[in-house]
């Protein structure tokens, strides 16, 4: 190929690229504007919360909505939060941690055992069970809240940690998720070789299967943790003792008593700083945890 024809091709390509890049630039700018506008929409209430929690009630109504106040009231709000109702807020934080960690750990263990059984064994009633689990995915938990309340009541578990935890552990989606995950990630040969080495079925599950399916366990734990942390209807129905409330129910009660709490001033700052603190840990960890969560919820969308 001669030098001349080579340079000719290049110029032609450049010209082509140039006209193309104009159209390309318009498309890019339009896309980026849309992306940024939507990002602003999703960040707007969170940014507002960050600003609002540093204000006193008076500042909240009288200073610029999206700007931090000249005199930050953050420490005063924090002190009020710590002392209000003898630091009840931190009790709620502890309760939320107990419910979310408890339901996350126990729910993941129970679901992975059931999922393992459905994925790796042949037994009578297996098909019926699989169909039941899939079918119950269509029955929303919220619609069962009152029936579950009646059940918990007859078990005498109203106003106990166990009463809130036990229903949260039952997770048909978790069973389905672990079943598919184990089928895909654990070859049967591993079970056979484990058996040859003289391991029992339980030994195989705990010492061979669990380490292999660890990514799936992490995903399911995170999804259950977030679901329980965010749960509101179930604890609302099952509890009427303030000291057992999770954050969601507690903050809602404060909101309901916004102007009627008998403290002489509205509870805005308490609710705002309380809301911010209760989402802060998750917001910070979210970018790191996101990819573990995604693989789980992506399957939720493709399921059945």
């Amino acid at each position: 190929m001669s030098l001349r024809s080579n340079s000719f091709t290049t110029t032609n390509l450049q010209r082509q690229n140039h006209s193309k890049s104009k159209k390309e630039r318009i498309s890019t700018s339009f896309s980026m504007i849309l992306m940024i506008v939507m990002a602003a929409y999703f960040l707007f209430p969170l940014y507002w919360l960050l600003v609002a929690m540093t204000k006193s009630t008076n500042q909240l109504f009288n200073t610029s909505m999206l700007a931090f106040p000249e005199h930050l009231n953050l420490m005063a709000n924090l002190n009020w939060l710590n002392s209000y109702q003898d630091g009840m807020f931190w009790r709620w934080v502890l309760n939320s941690v107990i419910y979310a960690v408890g339901a996350g750990l126990l729910g993941t263990l129970v679901s992975s055992m059931a999922g393992y059984s459905l994925a790796k064994y042949v037994f009578k009633g297996k098909n019926f069970l699989t169909v039941s689990v899939l079918g119950s995915l269509m029955i929303p938990g919220a619609a069962l809240a009152i029936p579950v309340f009646l059940m918990i009541k007859s078990l005498g578990l109203i106003n106990t940690y166990a009463g809130v935890l036990l229903p949260m552990i039952v997770n048909p989606f978790g069973v389905y998720f672990m079943m598919v995950f184990i089928k895909e990630s654990m070859p049967n040969e591993l079970i056979d070789s484990g058996r040859v080495d003289g391991a029992s079925d339980y030994g195989i599950f705990f010492r061979i299967a669990l380490p292999i399916i660890r990514p799936g366990l992490v995903t399911l734990f995170l999804i259950t943790f977030i679901g329980s942390w965010n749960n509101f209807f179930l604890p609302l129905v099952l509890l009427n003792k303030t000291s057992l409330y999770p954050l969601t129910v507690g903050l809602q009660i404060w909101t309901a008593n916004l102007n009627a709490a008998g403290t002489g001033q509205p509870l805005y700052p308490l609710i705002l700083i309380g809301s911010f603190l209760s989402i802060l840990p998750m917001l910070i960890m979210f970018p790191i945890l996101r990819k573990h969560i995604v693989s789980g919820i992506a399957m939720g969308g493709v399921k059945s």
Binding site: E24, S27, S31, M32, M35, M38, A39, F42, P45, L46, F61, M65, L109, V110, S111, A114, Y116, S117, K120, Y121, F123, L129, M138, I139, A143, L144, A145, I146, P147, L150, L155, V170, V175, N188, D192, N230, F232, F233, V237, T248, V249, L251, Q252, T255, A256, L258, Y268, L272, S278, I279, M282, L283, F286, R290, I293, A298, G300, G301, V302, S304
Partner: protein
């Protein structure tokens, strides 16, 4: 697969006990309870009387109608938005994709109650002067999303804020699982970004779209947290949504038998609604699939190679 008698049942036992206690029994118990009335502490069997009462319970059916309307509008807006965002994030026009994906998905980490509290405050013109900008459209008064006529739209905004990124994430994950050869084939056939999105990506997402729609519809029918939280900031009727009706029937009026009746009715309606939707779309998919193929072939001149890939992709999804 391994054949052993007792072991699989032992692995299943913890789940089955809890599933029976907190899923099956409550349902059966409510079913039984719904056949009784409680007269001064004594349960009296009344057959299907409660269901006849429910059938004529105007406020309950109005609540169903309200959440159905809410569902149609909100789910459509949310899923279209989620789909558009996912397709843009999958195109070559957007930079910093990872950052936008995290931002859009962020509301998933915020409890619904806290989202409702935040937006509830933001709907108050005293706290949110931005609403005054809308005054010229609403006849001099600032836009009031807490008003009885508009509060449903306020709730739609909350749900859209909370769940768009979640659905976008599901769509995006499905898009990344499309084999790259398919795009090469489309490029060879001269498809531009938009045509690739419309003729290849969208048809491949169909099943995921149906599934997210069903899940969103189920969620809409259960609407409770947001209106319940807002009811402490503004006046919202006790029968605003079916679940609020059920909750108040049990805890404000202490009528557990009728509350159980309404719970069972709501479960049945939810179940039937999702089955109907899946049935409707599954029938249409087969008819439409052919149509899409034909139109795609005639309008864009997609070659057989692209189409065969599309067919395979559909099966694997």
């Amino acid at each position: 697969m391994v054949k052993i008698r007792r072991v699989p049942y032992i692995f299943l036992t913890p789940f089955l006990i809890l599933f029976a206690l907190f899923f099956v029994f409550p349902f059966v118990y409510s079913l039984i309870l719904s056949l009784f009335v409680n007269i001064q502490g004594e349960y009296k069997f009344v057959g299907l009387t409660n269901y006849l009462t429910a059938w004529e319970d105007k406020s309950f059916w109005y609540a169903i109608y309200r959440v159905a309307y809410y569902g149609v509008v909100q789910v459509t807006i949310m899923l279209v938005l989620a789909l558009v965002l996912a397709l843009f994030l999958d195109s070559r026009y957007v930079k910093n994709k990872a950052l936008f994906r995290v931002i859009y998905f962020l509301p998933y980490a915020v409890p619904g109650v806290i989202a409702a509290i935040m937006w509830g405050f933001l709907y108050s013109p005293d706290l949110n002067p931005i609403l005054n900008i809308f005054a010229s459209f609403t006849g001099g008064k600032p836009l009031n999303l807490l008003d009885s006529g508009t509060v449903l739209y306020g709730i739609m905004n909350m749900a859209t804020w909370a769940w768009t990124g979640y659905n976008m994430t599901i769509y995006f994950a499905s898009l990344t699982s499309i084999p790259i050869e398919l795009y090469d084939a489309a490029k060879i056939d001269g498809c531009n970004e938009f045509q690739t999105a419309w003729h290849i990506k969208l048809p491949l997402l169909k099943q995921v779209i149906v599934m997210t729609t069903v899940l969103s519809i189920i969620g809409s029918l259960q609407l409770f947290n947001e209106p319940y939280v807002l009811s402490s900031l503004t006046s919202i009727p006790a029968t605003f949504t079916p679940n609020m009706d059920i909750y108040n029937m049990a805890f404000a009026y202490g009528n557990f038998t009728y509350s159980a009746t309404l719970s069972i009715t709501l479960v049945l309606i939810t179940f039937i609604a999702s089955l109907l939707f899946m049935y409707a779309t599954s029938e249409r998919t087969t008819a439409k699939k052919k149509k899409i193929r034909n139109t795609a072939k005639s309008h864009t001149g997609l070659s057989a190679s692209t189409m065969s890939y599309t067919g395979e992709g559909e099966k694997t999804l």
